[in-house]
């Protein structure tokens, strides 16, 4: 590990300006200068005229929410090659935990009235623990079994949320307290943007460490990984639980931002499919691909929805076809396109520099 780092360093160490130090520091958490630029642009968008309207702010929030989910999802599917088909149920579990802990309404059994600021972390913890247990039980199975088991557990969780009407009001839904007293969307945007950064940076640090190396080994060939002394189950369970915990955290945000929660709108399999598609079109195994795709995707979908009001669902069909096309013809996704373009530009620059002047 160390030796490879040392090998890379000398080239960078020759230039020691402030900019280089910054780039290196950001590179360690997985943010390139271009990525930083885009993040800064997204961060100031809510204050720039065409984007500071409330409905566009809601799109930005939805984009960040979807992107953050895609990061947590890709951490599992892109690295250890396990598709967590119960992902939406984990989001829902976090959302319901937090919403129930924060509940003060008299018509429900549980009335703790815990602050949502604490509740969302408890929700993350609960989802993480459930993910840990589920992972311990299912991740010794082969990929497709693990995926389908997670799916079944997700269906069961959704059924529970639907049926425990004393606790959750079932399909009538909950109306959790919002995080802030204000109805302004801008603070919420910065909260979810912060969560997105937190999740991305944390997961990136994990994947850049030796643990991430083990993940990649497991994802590529589990038997070879086992032969070289990695305990695949341990790493897979850790990965799965971490991803579920972040899913739960995002669920908590969802509950306390939208202020309404039904099993159908958050725990349904189609929600998992949405996250899956964004993560895959964005590019597997990169973490950032999903984020890069989520924002334009939400804008595209919402724009189509508003302009094609007479054709409900056309945007979803287009989206599904795009997903199929990407999966068949360009499995590398958006991030693959980026890396290809980057390589092209680099080789062009190199050739220009090599040419005698």
């Amino acid at each position: 590990m160390n030796s490879s780092l040392e090998l890379e360093r000398p080239q960078a160490a020759t230039k020691n300006g402030l900019w280089q130090t910054l780039v290196r520091a950001l590179g360690r958490v997985g943010i390139t200068p271009l990525g930083l630029g885009l993040l800064v642009i997204i961060a100031i968008l809510p204050n720039v005229p065409p984007f500071n309207q409330e409905h566009i702010l809601r799109w930005l929030i939805a984009g960040a929410f979807l992107g953050a989910q895609a990061v947590a999802f890709d951490f599992t599917s892109g690295f250890i090659n396990v598709v967590n088909f119960g992902f939406a149920a984990m989001v829902g579990l976090g959302a319901y935990t937090s919403a129930l802990l924060a509940n003060t309404a008299p018509y429900l059994v549980l009335r703790l009235g815990l602050s949502p600021w604490i509740g969302i972390w408890v929700g993350a913890l609960v989802a993480g623990v459930v993910g840990l247990l589920l992972g311990m039980l299912t991740l010794r199975l082969r990929g497709i079994y693990a995926a389908v088991m997670a799916w079944f557990v997700g269906i069961a969780l959704m059924g529970l949320a639907n049926n425990l009407t004393q606790l959750t009001r079932g399909s009538m839904g909950l109306h959790p307290r919002t995080l802030l007293a204000t109805s302004d969307n801008r603070p919420y945007f910065y909260i979810i943007f912060g969560m997105l950064l937190l999740i991305y940076v944390t997961l990136n640090l994990v994947t850049k460490s030796s643990i991430g190396l083990a993940f990649k080994a497991i994802g590529q060939n589990i038997d070879a990984a086992r032969a070289s002394g990695i305990n695949p189950i341990k790493y897979r369970v850790f990965n799965f639980a971490l991803s579920c915990a972040f899913a739960g955290l995002l669920g908590g945000f969802y509950a306390h931002y939208y202020g309404s929660l039904t099993p159908q709108t958050i725990m349904h399999t189609s929600k998992t499919v949405e996250v899956l598609a964004v993560a895959y079109i964005g590019g597997r195994g990169t973490l950032w691909g999903g984020v890069a795709f989520a924002f334009p995707f939400i804008f595209f979908i919402e724009y189509l929805r508003s302009s094609l009001a007479n054709l409900p669902g056309l945007q979803l069909v287009i989206y599904g076809i795009l997903m199929i096309l990407v999966m068949i013809y360009y499995p590398a996704g958006l991030s693959g396109l980026y890396y290809w373009a980057q390589a092209k530009v680099r080789s062009w620059l190199y050739r220009r520099r090599a040419r005698p002047s």
């Binding site: 199975l141 082969r142 497709i144 269906i155 059924g159 079932g170 076809i321 068949i328």
Partner: protein
């Protein structure tokens, strides 16, 4: 290798899993028997008849799913959409026919009309299967080197997404059903009221399953299908057209699912998401018995239907997804490759 004669494995042993020393199978079997007795005592024989009818249909759906997984190694997530298409086609064919029959009553025609809808649904289902296989899976097969099972699975997720949303887009979210196919009074025997529709659905399921079984066992094409499911390379070596077999299998499976959707139109009115529950149930079945295990899937259909009837009887209808799922999860933890086991190579892929 001292023996000079080569022991040929008996075909029967290859298809039929050995039932002796198979504890999970015995436990599930005895449990199902106990549940059946309980249902019979509490709900009366009528509940058992319901179980048989729905069980036949889940068996039909699951056989298709098991075939697709066994032969093509595709964990088919869009199987419910074939059910949905079948239901819509049957509705589109039967409703105008029924309207015509209201004007011009004819005993013979009103007996035959529902079959017209069901058969057209099966044909459309088969055609859809051919198109999907040729356009999507054949392309993917020629482009994928590794990770086929997972890629195919995600692709079927995409297909399901497109088909359900496409149906919503073109047909709207409305329910389109028929109150009953055959407008005749229900049969009465042993104190059971059994509508002709249910009886017909059960008979259709049985006939199709038996036909399919005979086709797989007795015809050369059926043998080729089984050969591909056992060993693709070996099948190619003896001159089996792999592409043709895979397209045929996929078309057969979608046709049976469409047939199920059409036959159950009186129970499940057609709407874009109608396939979701049948999809869950057929997945329960194939996971319970072992992925790709075709004979197991037939039995499993009835076991799952039994669990569902019991859940409905003892817990209420809203728990119908929860309790069977919980049972399934427990069974799979004990017997990860299903109670009858699975011999499909695709599950070895991580």
């Amino acid at each position: 290798m001292s023996s000079s004669t080569i022991q040929l494995p008996r075909v029967r042993q290859l298809i039929k899993p050995s039932s002796h020393k198979n504890t999970p199978a015995w436990v599930v079997g005895l449990l199902s028997l106990a549940v059946a007795v309980l249902i019979g005592v509490k709900g009366g024989p009528a509940q058992l008849v319901t179980t048989l009818v729905t069980g036949g249909m889940w068996a039909l759906m699951s056989v298709g799913l098991a075939l697709i997984f066994g032969v093509m190694n595709i964990p088919h997530f869009a199987h419910g959409e074939s059910f949905m298409v079948g239901a819509f086609v049957a509705w589109a064919v039967f409703t105008p026919l029924n309207g015509y029959l209201q004007q011009h009553p004819s005993r013979f025609l009103s007996t035959v009309a529902p079959f017209a809808g069901i058969i057209v649904a099966a044909i459309v289902g088969a055609a859809m299967g051919v198109v999907i296989e040729r356009v999507i899976f054949a392309t993917l097969r020629h482009r994928t080197k590794e990770g086929w099972v997972m890629n195919a699975f995600l692709l079927t997720v995409g297909i399901s997404y497109v088909l359900t949303n496409g149906a919503t887009l073109t047909l709207g979210p409305d329910y389109r059903g028929v109150p009953q196919y055959w407008d005749v009074p229900p049969l009465q025997f042993l104190g059971i009221r059994l509508t002709v529709d249910r009886l017909a659905a059960f008979i259709i399921a049985l006939v199709v399953i038996v036909t399919l079984w005979l086709f797989l066992q007795r015809t050369s094409t059926g043998r080729a299908i089984r050969a591909v499911s056992q060993d693709e390379t070996g099948a190619q070596m003896v001159g089996i057209n792999l592409d043709g077999i895979q397209t045929l299998t996929f078309a057969l499976a979608t046709a049976t699912a469409a047939l199920a959707g059409a036959s159950l139109l009186f129970m499940f009115p057609a709407y874009p998401l109608v396939g979701l529950n049948p999809l869950y149930y057929s997945w329960y079945v194939v996971m319970l018995v072992g992925l790709g295990n075709v004979p197991g899937a037939i039995l499993g259909g009835f076991i799952v239907a039994l669990f569902q009837t019991a859940t409905q009887q003892f817990f209420g209808i809203s728990w119908i997804n929860v309790v069977p799922t919980a049972i399934m999860v427990i069974v799979l933890l004990v017997a990860p490759s299903g109670i009858f086991g699975s011999e499909v190579k695709g599950i070895q892929e991580q």
